[in-house]
């Protein structure tokens, strides 16, 4: 009988819990509750890989410059900056009276220490290392002026320094080896940013941030931000619906229309920086190891026919349920407010008859089983995609169906992302792959994906595309300081890639988010999402 008594006690406890009132919230502090699906891997800028870490860096730390509307850079720690005529010396003037969260004043020596540490210790500061490539040395000219000397002119310098968070040197000085530095999770960071960490629980994955009243650019209009991690998007959406959270950072395409109907909730669909592409194996024949593929995939006529057989608008409508636009170039139209996107590129039109005719004329003749072939080479391709996407299976089926209609047999297959990555780079063991990228605000990274030097173990090229002319232009755009000159090169590069088709860019997906508009107003939409640092600075409660 004892066990039964225990049972009743437990039941009674649970029932009591059901009836207990919701934790009362005090009236005064304005708390914005954010729900997301991830959690920072670390708050150490030397070694952070997840985007969630960068969201928190933006709140806690500051950078010299920060991204503003239309891809222009605005001052943050720096109030003025300029570059010498030869492009080798950048000078930044700091704002006066900047304080760390602990009340100490920020000194120019600390800023110099930051840059020189990043430059001298690339093995330790791995995530910063790419951004200080080509930096020679930082020095203080006076107590508010920083000078960075470069080894060669760097065209996207503003973008680069907008990424380099200025950390509190005392927290980072003591590490002797790169490994020690990287094992430091820095979950209680001291920064100069608009918010400071109050509580961070890495196991329950909750972050409470208080507004920094002394922030140099003015105090935020809310008092506290709470980030809470959900392990599945259904629960996240439900939490928004019942008001457990005020902002859902990610809304699945399939849930978006339902979320729009929620009372007191506003759902937002923003054009973003990501793209999804069809990769066509473009690895040079003499590459080591040699590519393993159906050789027909390198035939420009076959590539054009494939491009003509894909109805991108249909993909957007069906796969993304309308939340995106058809893709053209490897540079998304949002970069730099459209400045970097080559809008002159005319996409090929969807035309199955024309695609069939092209293949027919090139000598690919229909066989009895409905698949075309030329000189014994049948148009049969693997169509692989990483298994962690919910969008790709559908896209692959649709593409396979269209290709089937022009006599190309594509066999869709989901592959574990790691295995797929190993097969693609640098082994070239694939024909067609669907995958996607999240672009930087600057075009440099997306352009680098098409360079020959990236097609190595650990590199970012997956198509294996190799074109000396393109490679040369890539280096040139990195060193061209004049924005309009650089734009010309960047546009030319996009056109080359478009015509050679190592990628057929399928679509640019939107960022889908939602918030409790019955509680908060003032979210800004100009950056990557309404959860950006600038947006949180502007948010205020509904009066």
């Amino acid at each position: 009988m004892k066990r039964i008594t225990l049972l009743f006690v437990v039941l009674a406890m649970l029932l009591a819990a059901c009836g207990a009132p919701v934790t009362p919230q005090s009236q005064s502090p304005v708390v914005l509750r954010v729900g997301w699906l991830g959690f920072p891997d670390t708050l150490n800028p030397a070694y952070a890989f997840l985007s969630e870490a960068y969201t928190i860096f933006d709140l806690v730390y500051s950078t010299l410059l920060t991204e503003g509307p239309n891809g222009k850079y605005m001052g943050s720690l720096a109030e003025a900056w300029n570059v010498s005529d030869d492009g080798l010396r950048w000078t930044f003037t700091l704002r006066p009276n900047i304080r760390w969260h602990n009340g100490e004043a920020l000194t120019i020596e600390q800023v110099v220490w930051n840059f020189n540490t990043f430059i001298q210790n690339p093995d330790g500061w791995v995530t910063n290392s790419g951004y200080v490539k080509g930096f020679k040395e930082a020095r203080a000219l006076d107590e508010r002026t920083l000078q960075i000397e470069l080894e060669y002119p760097i065209s996207n310098m503003e973008f680069r320094v907008a990424f380099l968070y200025i950390v509190y040197p005392k927290d980072f000085e003591s590490f002797a080896t790169p490994e020690e530095l990287q094992n430091f999770t820095n979950f209680n960071p001291v920064g100069t940013g608009a918010f400071k960490i109050n509580t961070l629980d890495k196991d329950q994955r909750v972050i409470l941030l208080d507004t920094n009243p002394d922030y140099f650019d003015g105090r935020a209009k809310i008092d506290q931000v709470i980030y809470r991690t959900f392990d599945n998007s259904d629960a996240l959406i439900q939490a928004l619906r019942v008001g457990d959270i005020d902002l859902a950072v990610e809304v699945p395409n399939s849930a978006f229309d339902a979320v729009k109907q929620f009372q007191g909730v506003t759902a937002i669909s923003l054009s973003g920086r990501s793209l999804t592409e069809l990769i066509l194996n473009s690895v040079p024949e003499d590459h080591d190891p040699p590519p393993n593929r159906n050789p027909a995939i390198t035939d420009p006529v076959v590539r054009l026919a494939i491009a003509k057989a894909i109805n991108k608008q249909d993909l957007v409508d069906v796969v993304l349920q309308g939340h995106g636009i058809p893709g053209v170039s490897i540079i998304p139209p949002t970069l730099g407010g459209g400045f970097w996107f080559n809008r002159n590129i005319q996409d090929v039109t969807f035309d199955l008859d024309e695609a069939s005719r092209l293949l027919e004329e090139a000598g690919y003749l229909l066989q009895a089983d409905g698949v075309r072939a030329k000189d014994g080479v049948r148009l049969e391709f693997r169509l692989q995609y990483p298994s962690d996407s919910s969008n790709y299976p559908r896209a692959a089926d649709m593409i396979a169906t269209w290709l089937g209609k022009i006599g190309i047999r594509a066999t869709p297959a989901a592959v574990d992302p790691d295995s797929l990555m190993a097969a693609v780079t640098p082994n070239g063991d694939y024909d067609l792959v669907i995958w996607g990228w999240g672009s930087d605000p600057d075009p440099d990274f997306m352009l680098s994906v098409m360079t020959s030097e990236q097609y190595v173990e650990g590199g970012w090229s997956d198509s294996g595309y190799s074109n000396p002319v393109y490679d040369e232009l890539f280096v040139k755009q990195q060193k061209t300081l004049d924005e309009n000159e650089r734009q010309k090169i960047v546009w030319e590069m996009q056109e080359i890639v478009f015509n050679d088709r190592p990628y057929i860019v399928l679509w640019y997906d939107n960022t889908l988010q939602a918030y409790r508009s019955d509680r908060f107003v003032g979210f800004l939409t100009y950056l990557s999402g309404i959860d950006s640092f600038k947006s949180l600075m502007n948010v205020e409660p509904v009066k």
Binding site: D231, W435, G458
Partner: protein, 325 residues
């Protein structure tokens, strides 16, 4: 051989099994396709090839798997060190310890409830065979057993948060994070209601079914007829003669379940964003975080083997026919 000797031998075998499991796991994780460095940093971190090589060296992945990596790992284990997680950059032992208690709390509650209710209802159903109660109980347990965890969790989550105002996930409310759990018991209890209910319903069906069939078998035995003939009340027959004999299959099931539920709560933990081991196992696997994977599977192996050991011991105690050999 004495009971003590048998126990000693069983413990020894268990330890040996754990070691073998460790070695097999070491090999298994490393034959997984893919590159842990790439898995840890993901596809969208713009890390240069040189920086990736630095990480590879730090993880010890530049050395051959055998003997270097294997001996390094063995040496670490021998010193009682499970290493540092590559993706979380924290000691594996610390991560596991933090999650273990939460999982034990959830599973403990759910298992106690489902075991007690399951045995009770299964017993009643068997006793009242072919009555409407039995039909209802049987239908319920079949449905409960067949229901997908994820689905039931989501349905309960939606219903509970909409109509009862219960939380949508987590262990405690964000305001209470960081405080010792015993100071926020009502909040903790509110957060536990839905996951516990899900777990209870899911296991209840299984326990009820096994208990019902077990009791039916026992009730057809001659000694039950004898007991009835002696003039014992039905309650006495059930309690003193039937229940004890019908418990054996249940003990096996409980032991097996306890061992595996440490990993098996993964769906429930995912639905309710509950900070436990199940979710951690998944992360470790996705990130190919070898130190974390090895630590997690060590814990899993130990709990399964310990639960089996416990079942062996209980068998000897419950059933005098099981002779220690």
């Amino acid at each position: 051989m004495s009971r003590g000797g048998m126990l000693g031998r069983k413990v020894l075998f268990s330890l040996l099994t754990i070691f073998v499991v460790l070695v097999i796991n070491f090999v298994l994780f490393r034959v997984l396709p893919g590159d842990p460095v790439r898995a840890v940093i993901g596809r969208n971190v713009k890390l240069s090839a040189e920086a990736q090589q630095t990480l590879r060296e730090q993880f010890g992945l530049d050395k051959p798997i055998f003997p270097d990596q294997f001996l390094d790992t063995l040496g670490q284990w021998a010193r009682g060190n499970l290493g540092i997680s590559w993706s979380l950059r924290r000691p594996v032992a610390e991560i596991l310890a933090a999650k273990l208690w939460n999982t034990l709390l959830l599973i403990g509650l759910g298992q106690v409830l489902s075991i007690v209710l399951g045995i009770l209802l299964g017993l009643l159903a068997g006793w009242k065979r072919k009555t409407p109660f039995d039909v209802f109980a049987l239908t319920f347990s079949l449905i409960a057993w067949a229901t997908p965890t994820f689905w039931l969790g989501i349905i309960l989550l939606a219903a509970g948060s909409t109509w009862l105002g219960l939380p949508t996930g987590g262990l405690v409310s964000p305001e209470n994070v960081g405080k010792p759990l015993y100071t926020v018991l009502p909040d903790l209890a509110r957060h536990l209601v839905l996951p516990t209910l899900t777990l209870t319903i899911l296991y209840l069906g299984e326990y009820m079914l096994i208990m019902r069939s077990s009791i039916l078998e026992v009730l057809s035995e001659d000694y039950i007829l004898t007991a009835k003939a002696k003039g014992m009340t039905p309650w006495q027959v059930l309690w003193k003669h039937a229940l004890k004999n019908a418990m054996l299959p249940i003990v096996t099931l409980i032991a097996l379940n306890l061992g595996f539920t440490v990993s098996g709560a993964i769906y429930i933990e995912t639905v309710f964003s509950y900070d436990g081991l199940g979710k951690l196992f998944q992360t470790a696997l996705v990130k190919q975080d070898y130190p974390l994977l090895q630590g997690a599977f060590l814990l899993l192996a130990v709990s399964v083997i310990a639960a089996n050991l416990l079942a062996d011991v209980l068998y000897v105690l419950l059933d005098p026919r099981v002779k220690p050999t």
